[in-house]
Assembly symmetry: C2
Homo-oligomer: 101 residues x 2
Amino acid sequence: MAANNPIAGLNKIFDNRIRLGVMSILMVNDAISFNDLKQMLEVTDGNLATHLQTLEEENFLKVHKGFVGRKTNTTYSVTRAGEKAFNEHIAALEKIIKGIK
Amino acid sequence: MAANNPIAGLNKIFDNRIRLGVMSILMVNDAISFNDLKQMLEVTDGNLATHLQTLEEENFLKVHKGFVGRKTNTTYSVTRAGEKAFNEHIAALEKIIKGIK
DNA sequence: TTGATTTACTTTGTAATTCAAAGTGCTTTT
DNA sequence: AAAAGCACTTTGAATTACAAAGTAAATCAA
């Protein structure tokens, strides 16, 4: 194994830009709604929903189905595992970036 | 358009980890051979070849088919356009990372 | 000199991924 | 009552990614 392999520490889940975006938003904002994410990332709802599902299946985020009055209000936040995995991914990215400069 | 869209500045070409790895290596090393890249990134040659082709078609890198003695020695290096595009991608990544911390 | 190996690929075929669009069910607004 | 919004799911098509096998020219090993 090449010890200097720059991409070895990257997480495949975060190769996708939308999932990377979702995570980066949720790392600094607690409990963001589906609609907010959709607007922030400028994606279709079907597309966003599938990526959120992927992230949820990986246990990287959790869903809170709540209500505002009688209207459903779904929010998302990162799990401990998601935080850990994302930080590791970011660390790998930083290593790549540092290698360049 | 959401002005705070964190993923807007990312380049689709560099979403792929192998292409990201190739570029990050070539940004700091001039004239790296096919075999060196293959070993550094731990990929199959078919896989590497197609990603190099993609990068070449985008005009992000150029190929030098040279010789060591009478043996072929192909090396790769980034183009000006590749350098620019990659730096922009890295800048977008850094912005995402900075947003997190 | 014959056979194995290396380099730098290309070709092939499959599997996975990504995405938009349309549909669903519930609620709210008009 | 009708239209629109929210939070999805389903569908299907297109793109992408990948390993494995094949190729051609050269080198090295016996």
